[in-house]
């Protein structure tokens, strides 16, 4: 204890001394530096200088900081522009940065300052001239920053805020050296946007042509203005053309977005329906508790996140096998306890499993409370993949789509390649015959049901990444899942895939016109009409047995 306090005191003392020394030095040397050789001043000195002197002198200091091209030059200027660059009120006049979350950083080193009370801080004032200077300097600094992303965002900011002639010239210079194509494209857009305001009609026309097909949202306003009000007829026509081409591309990407959302919804349908397709298609069992098995999978994810709160990043990898096992065991229990007595009586299985679904729902309500639980998204699941300004794909939907396909093909492989799969197919096609050749039908039934239920559990894990987890989670999906199976054709996994994706896409395409609710109603009506044409779904089971 004592040792540390002494140490701390010593440190503080030393820091104070050095600060004092620098302050005196700066105070003495400032006039000389400012007048003669600003470039020779160190970054640290210049930072301290910002706080001092008149506003007009600050203009020079700021220019000097920018000219240094120190790696932290931009930070200082940014802080100054945002009003976050502050100075202590004591004699030391220490320059600090106060961040948005009220952390105090040393402006020279950007190290956080802790343990010392700096007293009240004073904002370093700026005026309009300084502000516009900062703006330009910052843009320049960022535009030549070694990091691609920083450059891109600097250009994007120019596009949003609009630039002046100086920046336009600068951009023209930088463009020739620019290696990154995205940054170069953005630079072109920024220059063109500036040129759009040019006095010269030819330049305007060139700019309009340059902007053709650009997906950046800020482009459309100025172009529309040109199309409507430009004094030159050619520019007006060309601007309209450019707008049309933009509209065309936007439409295409909106279509792409709809398809993606449709596939994403379809992948949820797929995950929830393939388990059902197994129990329903292969075993002829209507499992109304399927949704609740998904709910169990989702709650498993939640519980795992509660148990290992520090492992959110890896929680899903634990949750997937856990949910498979938990839901699978519950499924086997349901099969052994109830369904095995009801084979060949599909309506009775429907009723009994509905009863089970009610019990499971109520159990979830009693154990986890009727309120929804939020499952956290791991870092790698959040965010989105920006393909261009008009089209982005969220990672969670993308991963769930891929995951759904993975589960689908894994299941297909299990049914095609493994001995369990062979037995399942045998039992589903001819139960007495399978039994006669030595397949333990009851054992296969239990495992098949367990498999279907386990997949429902996995689907629940995926769902927990899209919605909140609650006792009613399963109910929302069960009817859709049955629709998928009916649509795709019973006993055909490919049918389930096509059915799920098809219904997902149709849903998303109807939604903008009809709204989510009416889209559902419409789909139901369409499905009923579809069954008129193809009573056995898209991919009916064929053969003599099916014709009976």
């Amino acid at each position: 204890m004592i040792v540390t306090t002494t140490m701390e005191r010593l440190q503080v003392l030393m820091r104070l001394c050095s600060a004092l020394a620098i302050a005196t030095l700066v105070a003495l040397s400032t006039p000389v530096l400012a007048q003669s050789e600003p470039a020779s001043a160190t970054f640290e000195q210049l930072v301290n200088e910002v706080a001092q002197g008149s506003l007009s002198k600050r203009v020079d200091t700021v220019a000097a900081i920018a000219a240094l091209k120190h790696e932290r030059s931009a930070d200082i200027l940014q802080a100054l522009q945002d009003g976050n660059l502050k100075v202590t009120r004591d004699d030391s006049e220490r320059v600090v940065i106060e961040t948005a979350d009220n952390q105090i950083l040393d402006a020279q080193t950007s190290e956080p300052i802790t343990g010392t009370d700096l007293g009240r801080l004073k904002r370093i004032p700026i005026h309009n001239k300084l502000r516009s200077q900062l703006h330009t300097l910052l843009a320049q600094l960022n535009l030549s920053h070694p990091n691609d992303e920083v450059r891109l965002s600097a250009v994007t900011r120019l596009i949003t805020d609009g630039g002046d002639e100086q920046t336009a010239t600068l951009l023209n210079e930088l463009k020739s050296d620019e290696q990154n194509s995205r940054v170069r494209e953005a630079m072109d857009t920024a220059i063109a946007l500036y040129q759009l305001e040019s006095e010269n009609a030819t330049e305007r026309l060139a700019a309009v042509k340059q902007l053709r097909g650009s997906l950046i949202p800020e482009v459309r306003g100025p172009l529309q203005e040109r199309a409507d009000y430009d004094s030159d007829k050619d520019v007006r026509i060309e601007a309209q053309r450019a707008l049309d081409s933009i509209e065309g591309r936007l439409k295409m990407f909106r279509l792409g977005e709809n398809v993606f959302f449709g596939l994403s919804l379809g992948s949820v349908f797929l995950l929830s329906a393939i388990g059902l397709a197994i129990t329903f298609g292969v075993m002829g069992v209507i499992n109304m508790a399927h949704g609740e098995l998904m709910m169990i999978g989702a709650y498993t994810t939640w519980v795992i996140q509660q148990v290992f709160p520090n492992q959110i990043e890896y929680s899903l990898f634990m949750a997937i096998p856990a949910a498979f096992v938990v839901a699978g065991l519950v499924g086997i229990a349901i099969e052994r306890g109830v369904i095995q007595f009801l084979y060949g009586r599909p309506l009775e299985t429907l009723l009994a499993t509905f009863g089970i679904s009610l019990i499971l729902q109520q159990a979830a309500r009693s154990i986890f409370s009727p309120l929804n639980r939020a499952v956290s998204l791991p870092e790698w699941m959040s965010g989105s993949l920006q393909i261009n300004p008009a089209f982005s794909i969220t990672f969670n939907r993308l991963y769930i789509l891929l995951f759904g396909l993975m589960v689908f093909f894994a299941l297909l492989a299990i049914l095609k390649k493994t001995s369990l799969g062979l037995k399942v197919r045998a039992v589903s096609q001819n139960r007495p015959m399978a039994r006669a050749v030595g397949v333990r039908a009851s054992w296969v039934d239990a495992l098949t049901f367990g498999l279907g239920s386990g997949i429902a559990g996995i689907a629940g894990v995926a769902l927990s990444q899209l919605t909140n987890v609650g006792p009613n989670l399963g109910q929302a999906y069960i009817i859709d899942s049955f629709m998928v199976v009916v649509f795709g054709g019973v006993g055909n996994l490919w049918g389930t895939l096509v059915g799920a994706m098809g219904l997902g896409i149709v849903n998303k395409f109807l939604e903008p016109y009809a709204g989510a609710v009416l889209a559902k109603v419409l789909i139901l009506v369409l499905l009923i009409l579809f069954i008129q044409k193809k009573p056995k779904g898209l991919f009916p089971q064929k053969g003599r047995a099916a014709a009976d």
């Binding site: 599909p346 044409k533 193809k534 056995k536 009916p540 064929k542 003599r544 099916a546 014709a547």
Partner: protein, 274 residues
Amino acid sequence: MNPFKHARNWSTKALPQKDPNFGHPLDTSHGPILYVEGVTVSFDGFKALNNLNLYVDEGELRCIIGPNGAGKTTMMDVITGKTKPDEGSVYFGQQINLLELSEHQIARGGIGRKFQKPTVFEALSVYENLELATAGDKRFWKTLTRELTGEQRDRIDEVLGTVGLAGSRSNDAGNLSHGQKQWLEIGMLLMQSPRVLLVDEPVAGMTGEETERTAELLTSLAGKHSVIVVEHDMAFVRSIARQVTVLHQGSVLAEGTMDQVQNDPKVIEVYLGE
């Protein structure tokens, strides 16, 4: 297993709204009452019927034999409207195209079918079973509001006698013996006053005595009705058959009297192996 057990595996074609006019005497001026021509049915690539041709004369008793999978049941499905063929035509008399009609219309029109497995309505009595099968207006509102006429009741009694079930008229059909169920089903066909009777394996699982009685029953029906019998039991076929058709792999292999057929080298090959 299959939830769409009763669904058709063909798309619903536009069926005529009204029943065809069966009131007119059936045009059998060219001899045959049933024409099956060039019929092909395939399930998933497998041809259950392959260019099948079959003509059945009025009042004829025809036996159809053939190994398993020869297409016998599929042929019946096609005639009764349960399965629609990919190709070919099926005519009832000269005028009526059976492919345009649905099952109940064909049944009302005078083609009765007995299934391989006896299917009688087990929850109903023998009398009620026959009552259900009685020819007459079978529309919902008529059956809801009208009782049977005296004439129709007499007809039921008559058929009860024909099939030898007069003694068990008020028994539940579910309690009948296997043979009795088969006869009841034939009786139900008779109640429809059919022109053509399709009988699928009538003596399977019957005792010798029952088989004999069935043979008598079927021969007595021929003449008044055309009877088509599908059967495996060769002794039985020999005892009743005048004309025999052998099916193999979905088409007709041989046709003729029992003796002719039995001595046909192609038939011997199919039955005895290469």
